[in-house]
Subunit: 372 residues, 2 copies
């Protein structure tokens, strides 16, 4: 929350514990966390309301709430491993990441938190990159680092690793798909130790979380979300790097692509991005010329932390709730249409959706909702 | 000229001879040819006026007029070698080439003139191309040929030759920098013999003209002028292919570029074009999608051949002529400014410029004129 003197507040220890419990509870993701906080005014109040909310949303069994003990254990382990848990809305939370609509409520940061406040560019690319691709990635990352940018990437083999290695001295940020205590790939643990001297490692997952394949695309939104823009160096069709580029575009970030020969399958993805209008990059200045004008411009301030609870939100009555649920199905619909067609109030529709969300019955995507 | 029944007339043998004499005379280029024809109504009248015109323009000596004998010799040799001289405005003159403001008054064509009436795309690139560049050029030319396009190029070593070879069967056009009897490079004479079976060789130069280095950029405007668009495959910085791309843009034609690795100097030119907004090409469909919508659209009809002589154009008086010349210098000025500043009539300024032009004292470029 923004205080009256304009500075942003830090959470108390008790609040941080409640935030951690809430985001680690079943069916609570970054979007529903934000909705719960807006609805109940505090994580503590949301935790208390969670079981009843899930019931009203039609959960078939009681949802799992993260226990105080588990949360305390995670906080203690984090502290012991030099990992800070920074809350959305706190002054140390990366400003641009806070602007995405599914920003993690808590970001686990190891290393130099100050690196997250500097102008940042993301570089991603193939794991099985060519020698030329690796060389170019290293050259570009070095030049961007020397120009004052922090370079963020995903610690993967190939382009990611070449990017981090070339910007270790100037500051680089690795975004992990798993927890801070589960480095993937394991062979990059030493590289990560070098990275955190001037830069940082960040993760939204529990410390001990072993990354699964579906965690990588989820992680990619943080790579782009931290950055002014994403540079894609060598990417095949249907690669993770293209997911990052798509997320960057959705987040309103710049998308850059390094051209390559039409005969090189590792350039199919980047050439495809160029056809869709990405900016071609053959040297650092191509990137700097585009982001320089937006450097000074701050993203909108996020008033997260714990908002002043507004007037108590309208709970939908049984009939309205039934009408809203009846309008939903597996095909995504716009929330605006749902409000119009149900004839219920905005607040009532939001509450009903939150109930379904916490009951694990709702999928949200870009203003659209569907039953799962 | 367009006749009353809508068909375009062919020149008589006598007219064609006069056209050839006029364009082969000293200080007469495609632009001044057009101005002379508009001014005097026929090449014959222009030829008669030329010596006095040059004198009034301040020529230090009599300019060389191509003799009737020389022109007859060139026509006879052309016929003997199977080369047709097609005049701007005649039905066989390539429609899109006629639309450029410095279209050759006479085009020497060997081979299948009909190929010049089909939808055409130009492909150009490095002489010292990479194996990958040659392979890609061949693949693209073949696909474009199979899709019904005639592929035009410059018969050079490297990308040009690969382009012609791959489209020999479907129809390809070679634009020569020298005359039809002076094939350059000589080693491509056999390739050209294959080209003219389904396609054609075109040149604006005298049959026996040995190409000099400055003739190549001049030739490039015909490569782009014949085509709906120009595809650049591998080009270094400051290469002839980039000149062709610039001319294409000036002529309002599409510019396409094949992406390449930033580490490959042969891709610096094409990647630079991409940065300037050229359409990236990795397959034939990228080109076809762009030109398909403009295929049906005809360029504006050119009423060249011999126009009906209009009212006699105003000759500037001595004072007006002196005022116009005084306003000119080595720095290019707009003709519009010249009219405004001199206070002379449009016709008087045009005539004074034509005099200077024929006297070899004027340089014209895109509506700008300067003394040379």
């Amino acid at each position: 929350m923004t205080r009256e003197d304009g500075t942003r507040a830090r959470l108390s220890d008790g609040q941080r514990l409640d935030w951690l419990r809430l985001i680690r509870s079943e069916n609570v993701g970054p979007r529903s966390f934000r909705a719960l906080l807006a609805h109940y005014g505090s994580a503590s109040a949301a935790l208390a309301a969670l079981p009843a909310l899930a019931r009203r949303g039609g959960a078939e069994r009681a949802i799992r709430i993260c226990s105080r003990d588990d949360a305390e254990r995670e906080l203690a382990a984090a502290e012991q491993q030099g990992v800070a848990l920074i809350a959305l809305g706190e002054p140390d939370y990366p400003e641009r990441l806070a602007a995405i609509d599914d920003a993690p409520p808590l970001l686990a940061v190891r290393g130099q938190g100050a690196a997250l406040a500097r102008p940042t560019l993301a570089m991603v690319g193939s794991r099985n990159a060519s020698a030329a691709g690796l060389k170019f990635a290293g050259r570009l990352a070095r030049e961007l680092g020397e120009a004052g940018f922090v370079v963020v990437s995903g610690l993967a083999r190939g382009i990611d690793a070449a990017t981090h290695r070339a910007s270790v001295a100037t500051g680089t940020v690795a975004v992990l798909a798993g927890g801070q205590a589960r480095i993937y790939p394991a062979e990059h643990a030493e590289l990560l130790d070098e990275i955190v001297i001037e830069g940082a490692a960040v993760s939204e997952m529990p410390l001990e979380w072993e990354p699964r394949s579906r965690d990588f695309p989820r992680r990619n939104r943080l790579v782009s979300g931290l950055a002014l823009g994403v540079i894609v160096v060598e990417a095949a069709l249907r690669s993770g790097s293209l997911i990052t580029a798509r997320l960057a575009a959705e987040q309103g970030r710049e998308v850059f692509a390094v051209p390559g020969s039409p005969l090189d399958p590792r350039a199919e993805g980047t050439n495809g991005l160029l056809k869709q209008g990405a900016t071609p990059v053959t040297e650092a200045n191509d990137v700097i010329a585009v982001v320089q004008p937006i450097l000074g411009r701050s993203p909108p301030t996020v008033n997260a932390a714990e908002p002043d609870p507004g007037p108590p939100a309208a709970e939908p009555d049984t009939e309205a709730r039934a009408r809203i649920v009846a309008l939903l199905g597996p095909t995504p619909v716009a929330i605006d249409d749902l409000i119009r067609l149900s004839g219920a109030s905005v607040a009532a529709v939001r509450t009903a959706l939150l109930e379904l969300d916490v009951a694990g019955r709702l999928a949200r995507q870009q203003g659209l909702v569907a039953l799962v």
